[in-house]
Amino acid sequence: MAGVPGKLRFSLGSRRSPIGASAISRGALAGPARISSGALTDPSRPFRFRFDGRELAGLAGDTLASALLANGVRQVGRSFKYHRPRGIVTAGPEEPCALVDVIGSSGREPNWIATTLPLQQGLVAESQNRWPTLRFDLRAVADRLGRFLPAGFYYKTFMTPGWAWERLYEPIIRRAAGLGRLAAVVPVHADPAETVHEHADVLIVGAGTCGLAAAHRLGAAGLRVILVDQDVAAGGGTLLDARWSSWRKSVCAALPQWPALRCLTRTTLLGAYGHGVFGALETLTPQESARFGGLRERLHVIRARQVLLASGALERLIAFPGNDMPGVMLAGAGLSYLKRYGVAVGRRPALFLNNDEAYEAVFALAAAGVQCAGVIDPRPDSRAAARARTLGVAVHGGAMVGAVHGRREVETVTIIEPDGRRRFVLEADALLISGGYTPASALATQLGATLAWDESLAAFIPDAAVAAGRIAGGARGVFGLAAAARDGDAAACAIAAELGRAADGASCPEPPPDAEASPLRALWEVRARGKAFVDLQNDVTADDIRLAAQEGYEQLEHMKRYTTFGMATDQGRLGGLVGCAVLASARGVPLPEVGLLRARPFAQPIPFAALAGPEVREHYRPRRRLPLHEWHESAGATFVTTGLWLRPLVYARESGWSPVLDEARAVRKCAGLTDVSTLGKIDVQGSDAARFLDLIYANTFSTLAVGRARYGIMLREDGMLLDDGTTSRLAPEHFLITTTTANSTAVLEHLEFHLQSTCAALDVLLTDVTDQWAQFALAGPRSREVVGPLVHGLELSNEAFPFMAATEGLIAGVPGRLFRISFSGELAYEIAVPAAQALTVWSALLEAGTRFDLRPYGLDALNTLRIEKGHLTTAELNGNTTADDLGLQRLLKKQGDFIGRTLAQRAGLNAAERLQLVGVRPTDRSERLRNGSQLVAREAPDVSLGYLTSATPSVEFEGWVGLALLSGGRQRLGQRLLACSPIHKETVELQILGSHMLDPENARVRS
């Protein structure tokens, strides 16, 4: 054969079909292979587009694939492993080969499916997986080395030397394999995305005759129906058969009369997720996209009471040597390109078919004036073959295709006898194949359907009914458009009955009868010399499967993982059953014993952006804003995100410690005001409120007097510290808990959990009032003088309102709450008022403080103050610390139970060498400290004794101060250790101190 192809290509090139030639001469139809105006293309709207740098012409309504075929472009990519030239195989989303990069405004996007990508004016696409060019790909040498690259080759070939895998083999393989490539720098994805939640009585998947008939029935019954179809129009197989056009038009015209029925075309069902939840991805039309600000895809989350799977069947391939060559295509795809887009996929195509249904392509090509090179059919004869002969098409019965030859695309087809003897060679420029039809059972199996083998259809058929749903038409092996329509109608009646609706409305028009068909003959593989592919996308051959079986990977799922069969994005839709049959034959067992690959969501590749929806960038998580956010902004605050909150870090735009220390110094010297509204606040009421808090907190609250606050700690069930904060008793049966900002949600959940499970009998009501109350900390030696004039009728003397007092009253004329609690270590008050009145009270406090040089301070200054005092934040309450670790052991009540008590007694949680909280200062006061520095002894610098949790320059002391968790820390007071920060190349000698460095006697807070 070697010398023939070149000449033959030349001769074929001169032999154009008369219709094709006239079309080109008219110049009205874009592309030389366009022989008529298809049902979907609009000859009045020509589009220009580029593929691999070539400027080509197409029509509105084309897909990229149909436009490429119309221009005679056969080869559109290189294969995954062997870099073999590949063409367009299908006309739908099941396409394994024709994946392209699209270069758009937001950069290069890989793996667009050319067979579903709508052509647009100016579209720029490039082929994938080739270097330097599609025609000449250097890595195609992999094809020649094929026998050294069998299934699992990387497990065998690249074992030695051990060092070479990471440094040599893996980089090379990664570069050579894979499809598509992302831009080196992923651009900021500017495209919007959205998710829509849909609800229906019935979801119908597939708008072929089966789905349309069912929709008609259910719509007439008044049910809420969502009908989805991945195609650009409803109709399925009727779009390819003129006899059905009036039926389709009549049904499609009837559906809009039922407002509860919606039809979503261009919408692919991605998966069935149980409990009636389905995911579907809609591709928007350009007009719709423009309306929604450039939105391309819309994710639908559909919740349906019942589902009808009418997803039809998929044509499958036949494995034979060269079945991946550009020009080899499914027969149904050839029919589709002709009918929908007016494109003849070859000037002289041959066909290799084992079933009567696929002969529709023969009849259509003949009717369009395309001369078929011949039909090869393993069956000696059939009804369809007889009809083809009457149309003048040569049908070679009892024969098979043994090989396909050509330099880059199909040029000749070798026809062999069933016993392998060569019969003759046929000149053809395309080969349309059909190995029968496999019901699209992926969704059915996701819903729990079992599959049964049907010998007469040579296919696995799912059960007719699944949980809350039915399967009808081609999806359960009922083939033929009319038979599927009847089956869909019957399933719809059953569903209507299930939902308690009478289904006696007008039914569909009578469908045209199905042609009588002779039975198919199962044909999986033609065994001859050469690579016969069962998985085109992952380059898996029938020989690979036999090798896997031989090496012990006999079970289907093992074989799949060993060979990568069915693991590509198409999940082996075209050749899945074929590969299973090859495995069955290799093992010598019947096919049903092998089973079928299980398809999983997503049914097709889906952009991450579509899943993310609008929750990207600044809306990735909600931002919580303080009631005074605008005031802080106007006061020049720099904000920091803590949890979901935006908090003022410092009232300065410049960085550096100076403004922070100014703020902190003001608090120590006079007074400062800070917004602590982010603290979690939980209102606890009920006759058992005190009892409940005694159980929740490790210390006692039932003894707390009304009008007093108490610092409390709560443990997790496992004995570790959960949170701390002050809780006030506002009335005998009314408490207010405050939590740390970071833990507010976790604490509320913890409380709710115990209230609903372990304490379900208690009369307690929990309400999150965090957003209700704005809360300000007024701290500093002059704070009493600032707030005093604003609280009418309230005596603030130490005797009347001592440390840890709490009361309700009017503050600057606003009903609020006043607490005498301190985080800074100074005399301090916390003022809580309804958030809507926050500005009134905040402004009044600032005004009242003018003569005391009162100034606002941010989170950084607050942190400086609390580190000096040794108060805790989530840096220390980090989930790994116990009450004892943080020096809070004395708070644990001696009698009575509380959450976490038992497990806190574990020996490991009370070991002497545990990390304990200490204060630290550098011996050399000029040196700085860093959070996260490791503490080591000078004599053992490789053994970490703990680490710094917090550090700040001090306003009270000279130089820096910090808090650290140190092994056996309380026994080390006075020692000198080193703080090492290797990434900063810093080592600082420290003094170990008690954690309450400032005012350990608490004289200031009581002043």
């Binding site: 939640h197 609800h199 075309t265 009421q685 009920g686 009903p815 809507a836």
Partner: protein, 197 residues
């Protein structure tokens, strides 16, 4: 054959109007086994407490039952603390009265596209047959909690005030393709015009 989304031109009509609602909110939470006492007390005050999932309207007040044994009482703004103290003293024995006027931010939505917009964030079935006027539900939209109520005069949304701006940004962005119009504030009285249960 196409769905309702096949409108081609950008929608310039007001598909959805959004207005802030100034409102006082008191949550009544029934004490354990005191629900009937609370209901009787509320009824004596001319305010029947609806069943879970429903809204009741009376005397320029709306009562939403979006959580079990809890009711949100919405009334026209009064000076701070007034609404609370009247309830707190009345129901001390049978319920906790908690002021949430500042905690919740209220929006009123109306227009033909409200359902289309809400479906882009809300998992609930808002079809007129499923979520009839007078329905209320606690749910989550745009990652924040929302109490959603359907009234004869439109939709009422209550969201936490700290995330109100985030929610409003999401709503504006989502509603723009449908024609989004910001309107002046509405009053509780105008929403509670007729009894809905």
């Amino acid at each position: 054959m196409s769905g309702p989304e096949s409108t081609t031109a950008p929608d310039t009509r007001a598909g959805i109007t959004c207005a802030p609602l100034a409102v006082d909110v008191i949550e009544l939470a029934a004490r354990r086994e005191r629900t009937q006492v609370l209901k009787a007390l509320a009824a004596r005050r001319g305010l029947p407490l609806p069943a879970l999932g429903w809204v009741a309207a009376a005397r320029s007040t709306l009562v939403l039952a979006a959580r079990p044994e809890r009711w949100l009482v919405l009334s026209a703004p009064a000076p701070p603390g007034v609404a609370l103290s009247s309830w707190r003293s009345a129901c001390a024995a049978c319920a906790a009265a908690i002021e949430l006027s500042s905690a919740l931010s209220a929006l009123h939505l109306a227009g033909p596209a409200v359902r289309d917009v809400l479906a882009r964030g809300c998992r609930l079935d808002l079809h007129p047959a499923a979520f009839v006027p007078g329905s209320t539900a606690a749910t989550s939209m745009a990652q924040v909690p929302v109490v959603l109520s359907m009234l004869p005069a439109g939709w009422l949304l209550l969201t936490p005030s700290s995330t109100a701006r985030h929610f409003r940004e999401w709503l504006t962005a989502t509603a723009t393709p449908f024609g989004f119009v910001s309107a002046a504030g509405v009053t509780v009285a105008s929403l509670s015009g007729e009894s809905t249960q």
